[in-house]
């Protein structure tokens, strides 16, 4: 059923403004008889069939999609592992959805795009403050692709020294899979180094990472939520091996944990969307920051400050000769469309929190995880956390009973947790689900 409306006067798109009279006038101006005559498509490849896609009114479609998504179970998620949820204030939605931001393109005409350029410049600046590294780009797709780009950067800048990208044995499998693809076209090889009780076994790494290392990758916190105590040592190992030290982290953790620059990180990657984006089925925002030395090897977009003809400070995309639209196959990356709008949201959320708000939030991630682990550990048949480390947001739980069965029981009670082994679960707690921690503990008790 139609809602009516001028735009539905003719069968066609509701988003083409043409009245039949205007269409006729325009066809006449062009000098053709019909729209079909405008297409210079040989008949053998012309499509005259039906795609079989039924148009729906806006009202019908909203009802249809609402009811489709309502089929998702209403679970309280204690899920993390590289995709974290924190409360995003409503004002971030409101401001980021302003049409001038949402429906704008990449800033190729900076004179009428100062708003977004300044917002991206501010995003870069915030990342610089958080990481201590002087160069941050406007965004990568997500943490996994940012890691892939970091390895490719290592390949470009350290080609003579090594060809192995060392990654921890405890790493999100997805991240490794993406990395493997990103280095597939290079001479790099991906190899793993061992962990000791949930964090990097620096001695073992030191032995492995000899002169053939191009990059050493470590995470803080790790995918299991453990906090690294020996980041500087890892940095030293990388230095000695002549390799880049790439550190994976996220915007919330950066508010509390050691500053990457201070531990010798050459590149920082990770999920910036821990702030600014709601849980969005894995949609992300790849953080990417590095040292001044590698400025001209950075992938992705950079916004710089400069001056306009009136001598006023103005912002513009800069160092575009690194990019694919100018350098083609010699570009630092193929990235073009990125996650600019998510970066805008992340900057908004960060500015809303301020430094104290960020430290509070990050501290909460430590306290809540410790508290929940303690309470689960009191239950018979559970050991939490598995690792004797400080944790951030999440931790492993060892279960005497089969973990998948426990997870199924929890799901039936309305809770989602990760199954990471036959007898291992992972639980993530932040500001958004901490209030449900009591209920989760109770559900565990029942499930055991």
């Amino acid at each position: 059923m139609s809602e009516g409306g001028r735009h539905e006067r003719v069968a066609g798109s509701p988003y083409t403004p043409h009245t039949p009279e205007q269409t006729a006038e325009m066809l006449a101006a062009v000098g053709v008889d019909s729209e079909a005559d405008l297409f210079d498509v040989p008949s053998e490849v012309r499509f005259d069939g039906d795609l079989g896609i039924e148009p729906r009114s806006e009202r019908e479609l909203r009802a249809e999609l609402t009811s489709a998504l309502a089929k998702n179970d209403d679970l309280t998620e204690f899920l993390g592992r590289d995709h974290h949820s924190h409360y995003v204030p409503s004002v971030v939605d409101d401001l980021s959805q302003r049409a001038e931001f949402l429906t704008s393109y990449t800033q190729y005409q900076p004179e009428i795009a100062q708003g977004f350029l300044q917002a991206l410049f501010e995003y870069q600046s915030l990342v610089v403050e958080l990481t201590g590294l002087p160069v941050a780009n406007c965004s990568m797709y997500d943490a996994a692709t940012a890691l892939g780009e970091a390895a490719r950067l290592a390949d470009r800048v350290r080609k003579v020294s090594g060809s192995v990208v060392w990654i921890p044995e405890i790493l999100h499998e997805n991240k490794r899979a993406v990395l493997e693809n990103y280095v597939d076209g290079t001479d790099l090889a991906v190899e793993t180094y061992p962990m000791a009780d949930g964090t990097v076994d620096v001695d073992a790494l030191s032995e492995l990472a000899d002169g053939d290392a191009a990059m050493i990758y470590a995470e803080n916190p790790t995918v299991h939520g453990t906090i690294e105590a020996n980041l500087s040592d890892i940095g030293d190992v990388a230095d000695e091996a002549g390799a880049l030290f790439c550190l994976g982290t996220d915007t919330v953790a950066l508010g509390l944990l050691e500053e990457p620059a201070s531990v010798g990180a050459d590149v920082v990657v990770g999920e910036a969307d821990a702030l600014g984006l709601p849980t969005a089925y894995g949609m992300g925002l790849g953080l990417f920051a590095t040292r001044e030395d590698f400025l001209r090897q950075v992938p992705g977009r950079l916004v710089g400050a400069g001056e306009d003809a009136g001598g006023k400070r103005a912002y513009t995309l800069t160092l575009q000769t690194r990019e694919q639209h100018i350098r083609k196959e010699r570009a630092t990356s193929n990235i073009c469309t990125n996650q600019a709008w998510v970066a805008l949201r992340t900057a908004m959320h960060l500015a809303w929190l301020g430094p104290d708000g960020l430290v509070d939030l990050a501290s909460q991630c430590v306290r809540e995880a410790a508290s929940l682990a303690t309470r689960l550990n009191e239950l018979p048949g559970l050991k939490a956390p598995v690792h004797d480390r400080h944790h951030f947001r999440e931790f492993l739980v060892r279960t005497d009973q089969p973990a998948p069965a426990i997870a199924r029981d929890l799901e039936a009670d309305g809770f989602a947790v990760h199954v990471v082994g036959d007898h291992r679960l992972q639980v993530c707690v932040t500001d958004v689900n901490a209030e449900a921690a009591d209920a989760l503990v109770a559900a565990f008790e029942e499930a055991l």
Partner: protein, 471 residues
């Protein structure tokens, strides 16, 4: 003076860091031992009223589709329907990617539905939604081609790309480890079959082609092109950047393409967000479906499930791509349906042809479809573009593609009205009528006046910290 002046040309909004900078001590104040934490943190923090003003003012200094025409060639800056934002904001869709299949049947149903729609539109057999952007789609497609050749025991080393192609084609092929063979444009602006014959070999993994190409011309010889590539054992890759021209009227799968990507943020109206997020789903023929990224969504007896294609290339995104974008694309396609999709391509092509007719510019190549490359002739296309800014419109893409001298690649999209096109045409002509001096002094009615980009690149200042060090 801290604030944007209302209605004032000389707008300015101070940086977040100029509004507030606060240092908080971290060591000793956190639940962690000091050796695990940073010493302190220096960031701006704004109250919500200040934050709202800051970003509201910034937004007002930014062009957008809702501000006026945005005829960037090859960018398809069309109207983005509001209702798709509501659909994307549905809290029931806000789920973690590691949820059990059983608990996210709604999410999977939509993804499956979009896979199906895109397959129909492209004439493809299977579609992955994982690539988070067009370039990521290209990389995915080329990796699939690579995997296919390797599986056939016939690894190859070259990808052929026409000179007129988007820069991403070159970069994506190179990223996958291929040598890029550049194919010069034929005299008529299309692929030169002889040149193609000469370029293909047993090293040819694929030819990447945009159709209509980047000056809007349909590659009439597409059947022959497909034969040449296929006969050489290569695959044919379709760059979906210009698919808007053909919606419901011609399908890459029917033209012999083996792999393609879709730019949903172009063709399917998901907003561009100042540079992203987009999504670059990849469609393939039956034969290549086993190489698709993992996981992939399928339907079994009314239930949706994730599975890993047998010879999957692995992953190109940490999870399953840009969900919020994919939902909007689904909603847009479903809103339009067959009749709407066909009308979209008709009006996109009509608008380009009408606008071209209305302006006093040479257009070397035709018959074009949804976009055309006008030439600024003796004038500098970039200067003409700056002049257009002062006439209240966004100019076209300039100086690209390179084989058109002083190119102004123009794509109005189907969403512009005749009145808007007339305004746009007036701006084209008015800028061209301005003197060289006037153009060089332009723009003057914009938020910022002409920005010296070369100077900004010589002395990169990429953060407020860098600005502070400068002072």
């Amino acid at each position: 003076h801290d604030q944007a002046r209302y209605g004032d040309d000389d707008r300015y909004e101070s940086l977040l860091s100029e509004k507030d900078t606060t240092t908080v001590e971290v060591d000793g104040k956190s639940p962690l031992p000091d050796d695990l934490t940073r010493d302190s943190l220096e960031l701006p923090g704004l109250s919500e009223p200040e934050l709202s003003r800051h970003y509201t003012r910034l937004s007002q200094m930014n062009w957008s589709v809702e501000t006026g025409p945005y005829p960037l060639g090859s960018c398809t800056m069309k109207y983005n329907p509001s209702f798709t934002e509501d659909v994307a904001a549905d809290p029931n869709g806000s789920v973690h990617p590691d949820r059990s299949e059983e608990s996210v049947q709604g999410t999977l149903e939509l993804l499956y539905g979009l896979q199906d729609y895109l397959a129909r539109i492209g004439g493809m057999d299977a579609v992955t939604l994982q690539p988070p952007a067009g370039a990521a789609g290209e990389f995915t497609g080329i990796m699939i081609a690579k995997a296919c050749h390797e599986a056939r025991g016939d690894p190859r080393s070259e990808v052929i790309v026409p000179a007129s192609a988007h820069g991403t084609n070159f970069a994506s092929a190179a990223m996958a480890g291929y040598d890029v063979v550049e194919l010069p444009s034929g005299e008529d602006g299309r692929v030169d079959l002889d040149a193609l014959e000469a370029a293909v070999s047993e090293e040819t993994a694929a030819l990447m082609l945009t159709n209509p190409n980047t000056v809007g011309l349909f590659e009439r010889d597409i059947a022959e092109i497909a034969d040449i590539v296929h006969d050489a054992g290569g695959l044919l890759y379709y760059d979906g950047a210009n698919l808007n021209a053909l919606l419901g009227r011609a399908r890459p799968g029917d033209m012999g393409f083996d792999v393609m990507h879709y730019n949903v943020h172009k063709t399917f109206a998901t907003p561009h967000g100042g540079g992203g997020p987009g999504a670059g789903p990849v469609g393939v023929t039956e034969e290549l479906a086993e190489f698709l990224p993992r996981p992939h969504v399928r339907e079994r007896d009314g239930r949706y499930e994730l599975y890993d294609p047998e010879r999957s290339i692995g992953k190109v995104h940490g999870y399953q791509g840009n969900w919020l974008v994919l939902v909007k694309a689904y909603a847009y396609i479903a809103r339009l349906g067959d009749s709407g999709l066909k009308d979209t391509s008709a009006k996109a092509v009509l608008n380009a042809n009408y606008l071209a007719e209305r302006i006093d510019y040479d257009i070397p190549y035709s018959p074009f479809h949804h976009e055309f490359a006008a030439t600024a002739g003796e004038r500098d296309a970039a200067d003409v573009a700056k002049g257009m800014l002062d006439y209240g419109v966004h100019p076209p893409t300039t100086k690209w593609p390179e084989f058109v001298p002083e190119a102004m690649l123009t794509e109005p999209t189907e969403a512009e009205s005749k009145a808007s096109l007339d305004d746009l045409a007036n701006a084209f002509d008015a800028a061209m009528a301005d003197s060289e001096e006037e153009l060089e002094a332009a723009p003057s009615k914009t938020t910022a006046r002409r920005i010296d980009q070369a100077d900004a690149a010589r002395n990169p200042q990429l953060s407020w910290r860098a600005l502070g060090e400068e002072e």
